[in-house]
Symmetry: D2
Amino acid sequence: VSTIRYIAVVGGTDVDEAVTSHAEEVGRLLARAGAVVVTGGRQGVSAAVSRGAVEAGGITLGILPGRSREEGNHWLSYSVVTDLGDTRNAIVVMNGDAVIALDGAYGTLNEIARALIDGVPVVGLGTWELRRHAVDDEAVVRVSTPEEAVETALRLAAG
Amino acid sequence: VSTIRYIAVVGGTDVDEAVTSHAEEVGRLLARAGAVVVTGGRQGVSAAVSRGAVEAGGITLGILPGRSREEGNHWLSYSVVTDLGDTRNAIVVMNGDAVIALDGAYGTLNEIARALIDGVPVVGLGTWELRRHAVDDEAVVRVSTPEEAVETALRLAAG
Amino acid sequence: VSTIRYIAVVGGTDVDEAVTSHAEEVGRLLARAGAVVVTGGRQGVSAAVSRGAVEAGGITLGILPGRSREEGNHWLSYSVVTDLGDTRNAIVVMNGDAVIALDGAYGTLNEIARALIDGVPVVGLGTWELRRHAVDDEAVVRVSTPEEAVETALRLAAG
Amino acid sequence: VSTIRYIAVVGGTDVDEAVTSHAEEVGRLLARAGAVVVTGGRQGVSAAVSRGAVEAGGITLGILPGRSREEGNHWLSYSVVTDLGDTRNAIVVMNGDAVIALDGAYGTLNEIARALIDGVPVVGLGTWELRRHAVDDEAVVRVSTPEEAVETALRLAAG
């Protein structure tokens, strides 16, 4: 049972069609690879990636901020309520063997930073560029397509 | 998707054969009723109820205290790591539409009390008797068999 | 700085005059002994013990469930917001070198149980009697007066 | 009591002399302004800002990641243990009416992002530059000196 791969996918909640389409494709490819998709369980990227995964026969887990499963989108195989508010972001990324980030605002930045604290690999598709005052390294592995995102995440997760 | 019933099962970590057998039977009956079994994911009652459920074709979620899925027992369909230590007890019971408690020590008492704070129905099979200084009501619905525990929990969860 | 003694005081939120008077006296005595009083920061026992402590020149910390300090009672020297809801109960008791429980309902039971999980000594003044199915020991040290509660808590805290 | 101003200060744990000196000066100025200084309670910027504040007669609160107050640095007036690990970062910044960030790595980025989610003003002194893929606004108010950092934070906190 413990050999299942879990991939966390994080990103914006208010996203355009191009991001939605990318997220669905990421979900579809993760499902085909047999990975469990973990998200924050709500709208935007979480909904699109879960829809893509479930429609391809995959499994999706949503880690919700409140107390009610009603908050979850319609494409969660299983949901977990936490009543932790935005503090549940930490639990979302902690549950990925790797994280894929698409688009996103401060919530996504918060999740990327938490993954980097924990040493979880982060793959970025059109998301935050991190540049520290005096540091040049690029902590997020930047990719250009959903295919590349999933392939890279699965490779790093296996690492 | 949201019509799935989730039942949290809590109890001792160091249990005798009679309790183990009861917990396995509870898991089996919950699986047959189509309920998702949520536990703290580790030993004792959590392992026995998950084993019973999974062997009967059910789904089990383990909400783990640490950062590693390796902590989980071998009968978890999916696990969620939290890094919250014993504070994750709150998340275990919050995820049940009803809670079944078997045997158990202070961890179980902590979980029963949290469920009662939240208004989640608690069914007790050989567990703590709660008697408040000046109150006579019995907050935990006491039952005598696994069959009665599952039937009562599912009825109260539907409530 | 690290030699300060912290005592957590937990109890009911809707309490009668006798309990209020006991809680105020507990606060007063803890302040005179130089202990920092930690509570959940809201009404009932938390407010009374904080009032007693602050009026006697002591220091009180309130660990609040929400995001706003406005939730706190008027006798907190300093407050800490958590946005953890009732899950913050764990943090309240974790911050005591010993815990004093007065009266109280399920929230207090939840806190007593957490303290016992953590091995933090619990002194009870008119609160829950814990009796496990097949266990006769009394986990909570029962006392009859505020003086005895404070004296016992300070002795056990010094461990 | 509720009119006290709380300012959270976050930053690197392994910092050079220049950053240490800046942090001490920030602490000193916050103490003189009567603000309570909230930090993660450990080394680097947290220790330096707390030292500066306490030596100037101020009050410092440290929100610690583990269970033991021994983890805290020597300049905490009061400490709060959480057993939340790095997830306690959320509680540190949530307790500021404004946040001052100095230097720092991913932990600091995580805290800045959380403050921005919550709408808490962030003042940056030699810390992360945030630039979102398609956004040009600068979410962190950038300053050049400790004086400017404290003055700006207090002004925004009053906002």
